[in-house]
Amino acid sequence: MSDATAPVLEVENLAIALPGGGDRLRAVDGVSFAVAPGEIVCVVGESGSGKSVTAFSVMGLLAKVLKPVAGSIRLLGEDILTASPQRLRALRGDRMAMIFQEPMTALNPVLTVGDQIEEVLRIHTDLGPKERRAKVLAMLEAMHLPDPERMHASYPHQLSGGQRQRVMIAAALILDPALLIADEPTTALDVTTQAQILKLIREMQERRGTGVLFITHDFGVVAEIADRVVVMQRGRIVEQGPAAQVLGNPEHPYTKMLIAAVPTMTPARRPPVTGALALETAGLAKTYRSGGLFKKAREVHAAADVAIRIHRGETVGIVGESGSGKSTVARCIARLIAPSAGQIMVGDRDIARLPERRLRPLRRTIQVVFQDPFRSLNPRRTVGNSIIEGPVNFGATPEAATARARELMGLVGLDPSALARYPHQFSGGQRQRIALARALAMEPEILIADEAVSALDVSVQRQVLALLDDVQRRFDLAILFITHDLRVAAQICDRLIVMQRGRIVEQGPTAEVFARPDAAYTRALIEAAPGREFGRGAGQVQEAASA
């Protein structure tokens, strides 16, 4: 709260009531902070912390069921909570603007990009069509978008994710608002794109002196961009202060825990694993063909010439951005899809082409933990039934399988009596534990974790990673770990495979790859990771496993 300049935004003692039936009475309570001109304030917290509700209440865009019950929000000294709807509309887009998490859905798919940026000018200015157009083109240019003329006439679906977010920023900043609210603006983007967008926000904000309220869950991003940090937990602010202070010297235990949970970008040196070879692929490829009689046949090489070796007790990571083919490889190996070419050797058997009937007996060897904890368990079956399904398929009696399931529940840190419950009674992290128990119940040799921790909050993520590490050692598992997150990969993988456009561009021991990346793409990935210097906690993983 700088005294030199009047703050753009002042939130004081804000409280917003939740409709009845929630786990707490207020979505946010007693929230006070300020944003000065030219300052980037990051509000950071895990899901449910109330950070987005705060942002939306500033815009006056709260859902009708959420009602501010106390406090004030002042934009340039004007109280927003008591402003008339007309006044709010006049302020929105003009004095304050917002960009959102998902640039695809935040842009109207049936209107051109230029039209949507111009809309702001039409609402708030008296400019003629020509002037508006000129202004929009200039803005697009300033956003470093190629070929502004063409861009102006394009529809959102014709743009890449990064370009869409640039368009959103253009629309938000075209009238030079005093305040820009950015709600997780880079979460849905690939890491290289994220870096560019963060840079752009920084650049724009510096040039125009805009105050920015930046909502994020990612400490990497915070480290990259924040001037000041506000940490929220369960609707309250637990700590706030200059970025260097909060990140470098947190006071509140929650902040400490969060920061400790962020994996470091510097992987520990791990001894090479020398267990038996569990899995080997050669020339693995998956090609999708489309088209027919009147259509040009099109081939998409989702994966090509993939050769992977995994030993028992070893964790091999596959990293890459979306579309790199990393998930395709995982699904081929799990034989959820049939590869187009190549071999998948499990022990001495090639399972690449086995028909389902002959594959089934071999299924237990490879198990998968999927990304989405909310969809990976059948909502209509008890957790116990889900866990014993596999063993019973393979001849175990339900009683024996249930006994084993109880053991496994304990092993993954859950109460064995919870077997009778349904998935919706568990949190996301608990469900991932259950999914892991289900996989372990099959006594697999190979475990595929397909973005298994990507949907989890950082503190939960740390626990699950620790658990994975633990069970690997217990069962001498070979783990194929698919992720887009370099930090996570650095944390857990013995060896790393980097994929781009369906092909492996680099592989090697994790520390080696991070220290001396060979491929340009690998280098770009590492460079782009936000807050590269930030993060520690590698040493704390093990102790969290039992939490």
Partner: protein
């Protein structure tokens, strides 16, 4: 685009072939014997047999089918057993009333239903919304002919505003044509108003929850423009779909409405043909309706790209 249309038309061929086989088999398995109907009340068995052989009904089924398909391929729909006219001519003579009825019905339905649906969605949860939705459920719940009789009773008999029945071709003057079209198309449109209003409401409601509506609000846009500039165009695809399905299903309602209002259209021709076991006419009609269905589906798919730039063919 052209390639897409061609591909879709080609894909329609197997569908129509299946329809042809289904219809052909179904008719040949029915107990009615057109020969007996044609030969008349006092015909002897020999006379009936003669008629049967003259109509080619004594040949084995595959041969009959082959002949029919062969004729179709040359564009010959065949000749009606009863009307002593070529079926093409028969159908042509009946198209205008049915087309007029269908067009007027859909026009009324769309013009009334879409505004109703949009308003209901915007005033979601209000008494207005409940009334629109309640009345539309009622619209689903009453048989077409009851609606027809009610409208006739009120508007034709009691008030005398419209004629009770009949059709006047467009060539007989626009005024009379419209005057006679009002009640039948109103009757038939009730269910479509209900259908389209509900779909519009649902679709607009869904769109109103989209992120880009929030974006528009964040820009300071007023609600009216949000509704019509942002929401309606996005909601159009499901609405167009339901309108299209409506057109394709119209024939069912047309059959009844044409009977109630004595309109000489394809619907009545179909019922007459079925009751008379006029195989060639039934076959041709059903095949034609199926073709229309396929074409309408294609047209709908093509109009999608008008509303949604993401859909390109």
């Amino acid at each position: 685009m052209l390639g897409y249309v061609l591909r879709r038309l080609l894909a329609a061929i197997p569908v129509l072939a299946i329809v042809a086989v289904l219809v052909f088999l179904m008719l040949r398995l029915t107990p009615g014997d057109p020969a007996a109907v044609i030969a008349g009340d006092n015909a002897s068995s020999e006379q009936i047999a003669q008629v049967r052989s003259k109509l080619g009904l004594d040949q084995p089924l595959p041969a009959q089918f082959a002949i029919w398909i062969g004729n179709l391929a040359t564009g010959n729909l065949g000749e009606s057993f009863f009307f002593k006219k070529s079926i093409g001519e028969l159908i042509l003579g009946r198209i205008e009333p049915t087309l007029s009825l269908a067009a007027a019905t859909m026009l009324i339905a769309v013009c009334l239903a879409i505004p109703l649906g949009v308003v209901a969605a915007y005033r979601h949860g209000s008494w207005l919304d409940r009334i629109v939705m309640g009345v539309s459920v009622l619209g689903f719940s009453v048989p077409v002919f009851v609606i027809g009789y009610l409208l006739i009773y009120i508007f034709a008999i009691t008030l005398g505003w419209f004629p009770v029945q009949g059709y006047q071709p467009l060539s007989g003057g626009l005024g009379g044509y419209l005057h006679r079209l009002v009640l039948p198309s109103l009757t038939l449109s009730v269910v479509y108003i209900a259908l389209i209003a509900r779909m519009t409401r649902a679709s607009v409601l869904e769109v109103l929850n989209e992120d880009y509506i929030r974006t528009a609000r964040a820009k300071g846009q007023v609600e009216r423009k949000i509704l019509f500039r942002h929401a309606l165009k996005n909601a159009a695809v499901p609405i167009v779909t339901v309108v299209g399905i409506g057109i394709a299903l119209l024939i069912g309602g047309v059959v009844v409405t044409e009977s109630v209002f004595a309109i000489p259209g394809l619907g009545r021709l179909t019922v007459d043909a079925v009751l008379a076991r006029d195989y060639p006419t039934i076959q041709a009609l059903i095949l034609m309706f199926s073709g229309v269905y396929v074409l309408i589906n294609l047209l709908i798919d093509l109009t999608y790209s008008l509303f949604d730039p993401r859909i390109r063919h």
